[in-house]
């Protein structure tokens, strides 16, 4: 991921050196440790407006635009649970060094409505700039002397270019690229690729609108401090966590996906259904989540690799069938993209609050696997692996993502397909089956040494059996024999030994011998890794231990990972430190500190760095529980609250 010195040399020498240090200094003002500038180039712009104004589309275009220019890019969306109105944003952060999370502040804001100016002013970096339509009256809003305002005739420019009011975002996009002196041809190519399918007229109108905004800024000769040029041609993917999960599943041989719409898992459904014919898969939107998982289990029983996806509330409806998959030993993969709970909670915001639920859901004892990818690469490989594990061991496998990972857009290297191999486990074919004695069934639930019984698929002669949610004997016939019951429980439980061998060790980022260890799972990786870079520059030597295979946890693996650490700092996007509980229960290891955030937003790297920095400064004395809450309380749902 890192750039060579050659790449850095290509970076414009005239780049204003101090420009980006301001932002970080500001973010870390009044903090215990003085954080110097982190990376040579780190820039964040944000597009914001009411829902329905094209913020998400424009945000994605910006991400692709910079990705094509060779930058590492993160496009972080925020939006309230409504369709029109409210306040939507996408922060696009770019760097020539690896970055994986959004930052607290943005340097450049594209404000498509007046609310955006109001909402985003506090999170502008010092010396930042706001582009907005000159028709917007912002007279009432608090101003900042350290933020430059650029009222532009966006509506007028769009109209003159022959575009509709809806295309104002394209004019703004053009204007913002001109502000940073990014070449226009990148966006022009991108618009062609993006809108080509909609015909030449749509392409032309969008290009003209973007060009109008671009040329206006260029000819105005604003005193812009930015000069951001493409670094190099680079073929990298621009992808969300959900899309990576979907692609991983496709590579993993998934043939059937059933789901009911639920934020933030719906984009898996959308992506797969869009590609169903290209990949010869069947995608079914069902009447509810109960149906979704039962469809998937049916398809899996018939021999198709099957998956379902939802968020916590939908998973609650699936729980009974999860147990059925375990009892009938039918492979199933469930993706849970977590959002802030409980109940309806905050549908469009993030949390890591469903780990305990995923591990414990259902009555009865049985083995299962919970995997928690931390970035888009892991989304891809773990979703493919989940399908393997489910089928090899005939157990439910849960992939835990969350809104932050599922919906944030990342630039990333192309996936290495060879690394995702298919292992289908014990499926017996017709040629290996002897004729069954009359009136009898095949031993589907044979008591095997390793606990995994071979299975036959419907349509296979001489393999007839009943898969059952009842406790059963070896043929699948319901049985209340005390001995058979115990044997079947033991048989299923035995799979745990095999599953533990499949659980990868956590990955360690930063200096391996660092005594300070930040411990996290799933999507906290995004901010934690960026936080390491900040801490390193501040002289705090820390590493990050990241778990993706969160359940079952092998105590040996945990102990090995924690060996040599003087202080363990748990970082979780929930209130109850759920993963720390799992670690304690599985391995007996206790965390020294918990940095917890449950205000519905993900961690920003600055926040983790600040808290770890404070702990280091105080020589790791103080409260065990540290709660992180946003200082600026900007509610996107009720704009009325601010008189807007």
């Amino acid at each position: 991921m890192g750039l060579s010195t050659h790449d850095l040399a290509a970076f414009p020498a005239s780049f204003p050196d101090g420009a980006y240090s301001i932002r970080l200094k500001n973010a870390c003002a009044d903090k215990a440790v003085e954080f110097p500038k982190v990376v040579p180039m780190d820039f964040a712009c944000k597009i914001a407006a009411q829902a329905g104004a094209g913020v998400m589309v424009t945000g994605r275009l910006l991400v692709r635009c910079f990705s094509r220019g060779g930058y590492n890019v993160v496009g972080y969306p925020e939006y309230p649970s409504l369709i029109r109105g409210g306040h939507n944003t996408v922060q696009v952060r770019i760097s020539d060094k690896p970055v994986s999370s959004p930052s607290e502040k943005q340097d450049l804001l594209i404000a498509l409505n007046k609310d955006a100016v109001f909402y985003q002013m506090p999170s502008m970096s010092k010396g930042g700039a706001i582009i907005y339509d000159e028709l917007i009256d912002i007279g009432k809003f608090p101003k900042r002397a350290d933020v430059n305002m650029y009222p532009l005739p966006l509506s007028k420019l769009t109209q003159e270019a022959g575009g509709t009011e809806q295309m104002k975002n394209m004019a703004a996009l053009g204007a913002s690229l001109a502000m940073i002196r990014y070449p226009f041809d990148v966006i022009e190519h991108l618009i062609r690729d993006e809108f080509g399918r909609k015909g030449e007229e749509v392409v032309k109108k969008n290009i003209d609108a973007a060009k109008a905004g671009y040329n206006h800024v260029k000819s105005s000769h604003f005193d812009s401090k930015w000069d951001i040029k493409p670094l190099r041609e680079r073929k990298q993917l621009v992808i969300t966590g959900n899309e990576a999960i979907a692609l991983g599943a496709l590579r993993g041989g998934m043939k059937f996906y059933a789901a009911y719409p639920m934020t933030p898992a719906s984009s898996i459904l959308h992506y797969l259904v869009e590609n169903d014919r290209a990949f010869n898969i069947v995608v079914k939107q069902t009447e509810d989540e109960i149906a979704a998982i039962n469809y998937a289990i049916g398809a899996s029983f018939a021999g198709a690799r099957a998956m379902t996806g939802t968020s916590g509330g939908g998973f609650a409806l699936m729980v009974e069938a999860l147990g059925m998959a375990a009892m009938s030993e039918t492979p199933i993969v469930v993706v849970i993209s977590q959002r802030s709970g409980p109940s309806t909670g905050l549908p469009t915001w993030t949390e890591q609050g469903d780990l305990g639920f995923a591990i414990h859901a259902s009555q009865g004892d049985f083995p299962r696997v919970v995997l928690a990818p931390g970035d888009v690469q892991e989304c891809f490989y773990l979703s493919a692996k989940a399908l393997n594990l489910a089928e090899k061991y005939q157990v439910p496998v849960i992939v835990l993502s969350d809104k932050h990972l599922s919906e944030t857009i990342f630039s990333t290297e192309l996936f290495n397909q060879a690394k995702a191999k298919i292992e289908r486990g014990k499926i017996v074919e017709a040629k290996d089956l002897a004729p069954l004695p009359q009136m009898s069934r095949w031993h589907r639930y044979a008591l095997t040494e390793d606990g995994v019984s071979p299975r036959t698929l419907p349509g296979t002669p001489n393999g007839e059996h009943v898969a059952s949610s009842y406790e059963h004997d070896q043929t699948g016939f319901s049985s209340e024999s005390f001995i058979m019951r115990s044997k079947q429980v033991d048989k299923r439980a035995k799979k745990m030994e095999l599953l533990l061998k499949e659980m990868a060790e956590p990955t360690i980022y930063g200096p391996r011998d660092a005594k300070i260890a930040i411990v996290g799972w799933g999507s906290t990786k995004l901010a934690a890794i960026d936080a390491l870079a900040i801490l390193e520059k501040a002289g705090v030597r820390a590493k990050f231990i990241h778990f993706t295979h969160v359940y079952p946890l092998d105590p040996k693996i945990v102990k090995k990972a924690f060996r040599g650490c003087k202080v363990l700092i748990d970082v979780e996007n929930n209130s109850a430190a759920q993963f720390a509980q799992v670690v304690k229960e599985s391995a007996g290891a206790e965390m020294d500190f918990h940095i917890l955030k449950y205000d519905a937003r993900p961690f920003f790297p600055e926040q983790i760095a600040e808290e770890v920095g404070k702990l280091a400064k105080n020589e790791f004395k103080g409260e065990k529980r540290i709660e992180v809450v946003e200082k600026e309380d900007m509610e996107y749902y009720n704009t009325q609250r601010y008189g807007l």
Partner: protein
């Protein structure tokens, strides 16, 4: 390879059914075994998906592939099986509590989709395996464990619902007339599309009203009607669907109420036109074609 002739024996299972002596389920089991044999579908090519209840024990006694799932969920499991391998003969079974109670939502939606599968509802007009509570089809006024003062809720009319809900084959049979039931089951399985067979099934232990005698006296066959019952006429079918209620259950029509042709859900999926989903090789799926829009 020469296929041996398929007989009823191929569908017999050695396990003794755990039903009360005289239960209507025996008739349904016998009729289903015979229907499968007469249609010549080999045991490995059928799957019976059931829910939970006395009726849902059926997969164990008709020797095919089977899936005994959760209460009320026989239809979604059956749908998943059908979509994964539409070359299989898929049968869903359950009781009235299972299908018209807890699983009602699935019943309404499956009719819209018209998968090519057969749904047999063992309608004994109460919950039997849980020892006799009122179900959605228990008649008005009937006293049960949960309705000590008699049922006050209007009974669910599955035939009328199916006709209005989009089912392409709507029928009713009586478990006491296995020859007729077998013929209906054969027609239902041959029908391309969603076929409902609602079977009036006496529960000899808990239902003291809807007995064999009750049905024998009241049931008459639609196909023996003069003038002939037009199974293609939706309004006539609907009229017949309400006859039991209108006549205070004096007249209960059985047979095919309504039948029509409509594309099945599977027909609309080009990806399974030539191959069943399960027939695709998944060992090395190339996803790089999807990159185009992502760069």
């Amino acid at each position: 390879m020469m296929m041996a002739e398929i007989t009823v024996m191929d569908f017999n299972a050695k396990e003794r059914p755990q039903w009360c002596p005289g239960c209507g389920n025996f008739g349904i089991m016998t009729a289903l075994r015979s229907a499968l044999a007469e249609l010549g579908i080999p045991p490995h090519m059928s799957v019976i998906s059931s829910g939970i209840g006395c009726s849902s024990k059926m997969p164990h006694y008709v020797r095919t592939y089977g899936f005994e799932g959760l209460h009320g969920r026989s239809l979604p499991v059956a749908s998943g099986i059908k979509l994964a391998n539409h070359k299989l003969n898929v049968i869903a079974e359950g009781g009235d509590g299972d299908g018209y109670g807890i699983g009602m939502g699935h019943f309404q939606h499956i009719m819209r989709r018209n998968y090519d599968l057969t749904y047999i509802v063992h309608n004994n007009q109460l919950y039997a395996l849980t020892t006799g509570q009122a179900s959605p089809t228990t008649q008005l006024g009937v006293k049960t464990k949960t309705t000590p003062y008699g049922v006050v809720e209007t009974p669910f009319n599955p035939i009328a619902s199916a006709i209005l809900g989009g089912a392409t084959f709507v029928s009713r049979a009586f478990a006491g007339d296995t020859t007729h039931l077998k013929e209906i089951l054969k027609q239902a399985m041959k029908h391309r599309g969603f076929a409902l067979v609602d079977v009036m099934q006496p529960c000899v232990t808990f239902n003291k009203l809807n007995t064999y005698e009750f049905f024998t006296k009241r049931c008459y066959k639609l196909e023996e009607q003069m003038p002939k019952h037009d199974i293609g006429d939706r309004s006539v079918a609907l009229e017949k669907a309400f006859e039991p209620e209108k006549t205070n259950y004096e007249k209960i029509p059985i047979g095919v109420f309504y039948k029509t042709e409509r594309a099945t859900y599977e027909d609309t999926l080009p990806q399974i036109k030539d191959k069943a989903l399960v027939e695709y090789d998944v060992s090395d799926v190339d996803i790089s074609g999807a990159y185009e829009d992502m760069i």
